[in-house]
Subunit: 410 residues, 3 copies
């Protein structure tokens, strides 16, 4: 484990980025943000063991409805609170019955003398937890009593649209392989040419392998935008497809409704994207991360999510797998998510793998710089990109991921 402290005044390298454990530069940086730890739906009436940024934790809701996120092991003798009893006022360890409230305060120690007040001195590790739009966020940072404001992410605020939270996905490779893949749009035309992103898609072969769109990379307040353009249907217009990377680990995709729900071209031209497809990534440790996916739709189609789901279901790997083919990730071609998993899980760790970066990697290069600067800012006590500044706590945080037709150069 690398010491965050010792790194403060040194340059953070890209080799630091994959490592999220306590005390690492990136671990410290992540601990300045609210991170998604569960969907509301996945937290039932039993305690849930979670690993977040390399820490073993237990998430539960007491019988009053309050959410708690505590250290997994009882501070008394170490038994796992995953097997504790949930009660009105908190969670009770099975071994000796110590009761903790959602703030980590020990309330009871049944084996101690009746007059004992020792329990008052026992405060277990606990982190603030908040619910927003069906997701449960936690702040694992240094000031649990004064966490930064939880951003009001537009896809999680009720604004008259429909929201869908997809089943949670867990992947067993490093989080940053997934994250920086979105700063690299050229792979869409190549890796994903067999899928919804192939030449057959909207926008007159927008993602053609032979005639790729133009790629622009724009640094923003919250991170970076990737803007892809092609000549539009009429003079003076262009097709635009935008993807957003918001720190610390959020991706918003603009073209989901056109690529995966096949919304028709007229709509594209007149209205642009009406679906926010947002992925919140949470590193479990250096080898695993979890993806929480939210769709927020503001258009008029009451059956939009049904349509999206039906179309997704048709995007299955079409490859025939030969009987002598023992390759682990076969088949993958034909499904964007399986194509990504094959690609990213075999890359190895950033900083450990050899790389030869090219012109088309300038998005990746820019994004790594932005991430490193945010880490350094956090380590130096500043306010990194992605933290809501003072005075703006109540504003809805919109990530611009416009996809549609607009006048040239807008």
């Amino acid at each position: 484990m690398k010491a965050g402290g010792a790194k403060k005044n040194k340059q953070v390298t890209i080799g630091d980025i994959p490592h999220v454990g306590p005390g690492t530069p990136v671990g410290e940086w992540f601990r300045r943000y609210w991170l998604v730890v569960s969907t509301l739906e996945d937290l039932r009436d039993i305690p849930r063991e979670l690993k977040i940024l390399g820490e073993e934790l237990v998430l539960f809701r007491d019988l009053r409805g309050q959410l708690g996120l505590l250290g997994l092991h009882c501070p008394h003798r170490g038994t796992s609170l995953e097997y504790g009893d949930i009660e009105e006022r908190g969670i009770r360890c099975s071994y000796h019955g110590w009761l903790f409230d959602v703030g980590g305060q020990c309330l009871e120690q049944p084996a101690e003398p009746k007059e004992s007040v020792f329990h008052r001195k026992v405060k277990h590790l606990s982190y603030p937890v908040r619910e927003q739009g069906g997701l449960i966020f936690a702040y694992l940072g240094p000031n649990p009593d004064q966490p930064p404001p939880l951003p009001r992410y537009s896809c999680l605020v009720d604004r008259g649209g429909q929201r869908q939270i997809e089943p949670v996905r867990c992947n067993d490779y490093n989080w940053f392989n997934f994250y920086e893949n979105s700063a690299d749009p050229s792979h869409i035309c190549i890796l994903h040419r067999h899928t919804g992103y192939g030449e057959q898609s909207w926008g007159d072969q927008f993602f053609s392998y032979r005639d790729m769109p133009s790629f622009d990379y724009v640094e923003t307040d919250y991170g970076m935008k990737v803007v892809m353009t092609k000549p539009g249907p009429t003079a003076g217009t262009e097709f635009v497809d935008t993807m957003t990377l918001a720190l610390p680990s959020i991706i918003q995709v603009g073209d989901t409704e056109f690529v995966h729900a096949r919304v028709d071209a007229v709509k594209l031209m007149t209205e642009g994207s009406q679906c926010e497809h947002v992925l919140f990534l949470t590193p479990n440790d250096d080898e695993r991360f979890t993806i929480f996916t939210v769709n927020y739709y503001t258009g008029s189609d009451a059956n939009f999510f049904d349509k999206l789901q039906r179309m997704r279901a048709t995007e299955v790997p079409e490859e025939e797998v030969k009987e002598y083919d023992r390759r682990k990730y076969m088949p993958f071609k034909g499904n964007v998510r399986q194509e990504d998993i094959m690609t990213q899980s075999t890359q190895g760790l950033l900083g450990e793998r050899d790389e030869r970066l090219a012109t088309s990697d300038r998005g990746v290069i820019m994004f790594r710089r932005i991430v490193r600067e945010a880490i350094v800012t956090a380590l130096q006590g500043g306010c990194p990109k992605g933290i809501v500044p003072k005075g703006k706590e109540k504003e809805i945080v919109y990530f611009d991921s416009f996809t549609g037709v607009r006048k040239n150069g807008r």
Copy 2:
């Protein structure tokens, strides 16, 4: 691996206790005692690979009936003797036919010249082995020719009672989590409140969660006694329940017949416990240990063991496991042994886990001191608790685990 030598004059810490490999302080301490390595019944006519205190060994009985415990790997070229042939005079390695007797002496080397006496110079690692009451003990210590006397444990000596050896249990966590759990009687009232130890048990709610017995901890010649008491049925009497921890790793439970065989209260009051329920723990390495369990019954009920077994069979986890519950140790509530496994296997290693000890942990604190003192005594060449002193070799070793009704303060 920690060097036992270097530790001799330093303080042994509780963080040393879990580690049993060769050269560690606790490994050296354990190597002063006879340890159970198998039941007689589990040793058949094939060699058995065993791991004891981190050492790879092979246990066998030659065709003359002699027991041998040798290093697993043939000293010639390393092949496993687990696949050797058992013969009249010993075990023969499959690779080149070297024959070893139970004392490790090489008797034959078929590929050597007929006149060769090289075999006489080859003495393989071997440890003394003894049988007692259906258990096989081995001494892995430094003086194999002069081992200490094998204690005549009362439960293993035929004294007119009935003996039962239970099926051997293997657990994959550290041995000391199991052992010191017995120095901590308050967990019985809390963790085990759902089982035979709940409020419904003998002794007028002896183990009530709300009204626990008094706990006393008494240092003894062989280790420590835990004495639990509650007011008795008549004036001037008390219910007593005793549990014994005998070094290096033996536990005797006094209340088994009342808790798990539900022997009636009249018997309890007039006769006290007549069943010695004894657990011999053997660490395989730092992550695994084996439990050899003996019941010795001196009462008059010819069907006592049947009754015990039938009652045990009813103590199954009663919890309903919800279909979304993926927790590893579910269900556990309702069976003392599964409750213990869940609790102890999630604690982590002593010395590595954080702890906040309380008043009710004074038994644990005292016991850790007793164990550490015994380790230091052994490392300094003394005779630690649990070794039979000279001149007492023939005496039966009784561990006082009285459970029953007695006059106050006896």
Copy 3:
């Protein structure tokens, strides 16, 4: 990983021999030879991931038929080329479509500007590959453009006989345990006494446990010969059985046709062995190796391989396995290959295991010296045994493994 450089002027110990990774003395030595990496038959129309000497590689044949062996991970961003597309001119990475020819030269980078010549600067790790007699050889050494000549092994050159390549075998223990087993012929009479090599075999109880043959060890240009002899059928003759160990990791067995095909004794006496049974070993890493087995038969029996296969099929472990027997390698007695696997996989690593070598180990001792000398020669820039010397590239490499009857002392 041990530094080969630092070892150059020091003595290479037997403890170095098992370790084959890049930079180790033995790894460097192996990288002076052509090694078998696949049979021709096992390379289909999909890329194959291989681990050779601890290196992750991908083997493929482009659509023109050229063989390529490249580094597994694309040099661009690390994705596995095992999932690349095979094309006319090479293999194309799935992620960004970089195309590499069999020499590792990058030919295309579709996401780069059309005028870009950056691909010309990208040369991926590649190793020379050659096909010979149904096996694919690769040279992983320091001068890929000037590899040593690929020896024309007699069993792989068409000389009017019949060739059979057996199914490839993979074992999960160290390669040298298998290799040096052949320098130790006495084990045949002992370990293999239950099988084809038992007393019932050809040559009047040639491999009798009670009356072993004489063993001679002869250092040769390519490595070492083991010569076993017994008195022949008539005065002045002897039965001879020869086994060859050729560096770096080849074994030729002379008696296969007599032991496993039970060719009759008349033939043995008049013609001697007509079947070359050759094993090419390739270490995958320190824990695994692969065996490529070739039979080359020059006799007149058109059904020889059928006969060999039928006889092999009868050599199954005859042992009854008792229902309480949980030993991993049971049953093994009765099948030479399973007897070897049990023995060798339980030995542990040379240099880490304890050993007591005896007179009958002088073949092993000599062979370890020959291997160490070859390693030192290679590290010092010389031409170790097993490399074809200049001017002899076109000669067929015969390993003398005569088995049959000859005049005494020939």
